[in-house]
Amino acid sequence: MTPTPKTCALCSKFRAIIKRPKTGQQICKECFFFVFETEVHNTITEAKLFSRGDRVAIGASGGKDSTVLAHVMKALNERYGYGLDLYLLSIDEGITGYRDDSLETVKRNQQQYSMPLKILSYDELYGWTMDAIVSQIGKKNNCTFCGVFRRQALDRGAAMLKVDHIVTGHNADDIAETVLMNIMRGDIARLGRCTLICTEGEDTIKRSKPFKYAYEKEIVMYAYFKRLDYFSTECIYSPDAYRGHARTFLKDLESARPSAIIDIIHSGEAFEVKEEVRKGQKAQQTCRKCGYMSSNDLCKACTLLEGLEKGLAEARIIDVGGRTGSHEMPPEEPREVTKLDPS
């Protein structure tokens, strides 16, 4: 059973090479590149993500999503004249054999796309590499550290680059997975928020996800057919089994019905947090130690660092949502995102 080659449903000229998961449409390589890029462009323009002259950092890990994002952002910026200044921003978590290799990929991307690259390490920001953290606390919960540190590191890197906006390669599958995780945790407040295409904190830089509606399958196919250079080794510390189960479940759903991914995102969007719920949350202040915005007296990163330095192996922030306690202490330092007091 070898089916005869199918002709592209869009141009009726060339041989179809991909079946689109979203639509089932069978299209040729050139039409695929065009519709994939155009859909990202539509996502960007419909959400009015950028303004002319914006300085935009692409959070670049060397992996498939951010590599394709850098490629597509550059192409769209040129094709549609967005007028953006694009930068690559990478975080070096200090994971030997993983991040050091993927950073080599990012450095090649810097050449290929001729974009300025800024690399910031956990070591220089926090005085701890992930290798050191793991040797202290073990492999459990280290994703918590990494997640908190990375978010703050990206903001600091963005401040150093003086960018207005960080774009990340989160794709539709990632967002659907996060929706599932938030449902499983009963975290309704974050359920709606995690589907937002663009978020902006009190004094932080905008963050957005131009691939919000892009399927992982198409991102990987795009990278394959464009022969893009990306790094694909799993983080050696990734022990987040719970997320792994969510991902497997999602992939099973997708193979039964490809629209499941978009359907789940739409479900998350339907939970968009009402203003009254948000008012119950604490007002933002700044961290007394490092000046980063925080809903408590100490920001999440500094709290984790204190725990590490006290050698508290079990130091965990259960409520990363920041609804615990009543810290009334005013910030002692002015807001300054780029500085971190090492003391």
Binding site: T2, I18, K64, N171, V220, Y224, S232
Partner: protein
């Protein structure tokens, strides 16, 4: 993507000299190569027909290839490659640079010189 390593050659030991054979090139990427001796490209040769239960045979298809790869080339963590008789969801398969979903998936009958690519989408972004 760099492909610096040479191909490795394997052939099915059950293969007799006179039986028609199907030489294939198989490639793993997106992190899947880690399960296959960290080697991306492999040259293999399969028989053109394979047993299909009850003494019958069938033309060699991708379903057979997947099982053959699991039995002969896979070095670790089979559950990251297969799920039942097919690849684990999240692994993309291309037949001569075409999405296998357009080619009949596991039922695609292999032809000499075919190039089958397996790409994991499950590794980091």
């Amino acid at each position: 993507m760099p492909d610096s390593q040479p191909d490795s050659s394997h052939s099915d030991s059950n293969l007799s000299q006179n039986e028609p054979k199907i030489p294939l090139r198989v490639e793993f990427s997106g992190g899947l190569e880690l399960l296959f001796s960290n080697q991306r490209s492999h040259r293999i040769t399969l028989p053109s027909t394979v047993p299909h239960g009850d003494g019958t045979t069938k033309p060699t298809d991708i379903t057979y290839l997947i099982d053959w790869l699991r039995r002969n080339l896979l070095k670790e963590r089979a559950e990251l490659f297969t799920d039942g008789a097919t690849v684990r969801p999240g692994i993309l398969v291309l037949v001569n640079d075409s999405d296998w979903e357009l080619e009949g998936e596991g039922d695609y009958q292999l032809r000499p010189g075919d190039e089958i690519v397996f790409i994991s989408t499950l590794h980091g972004g």
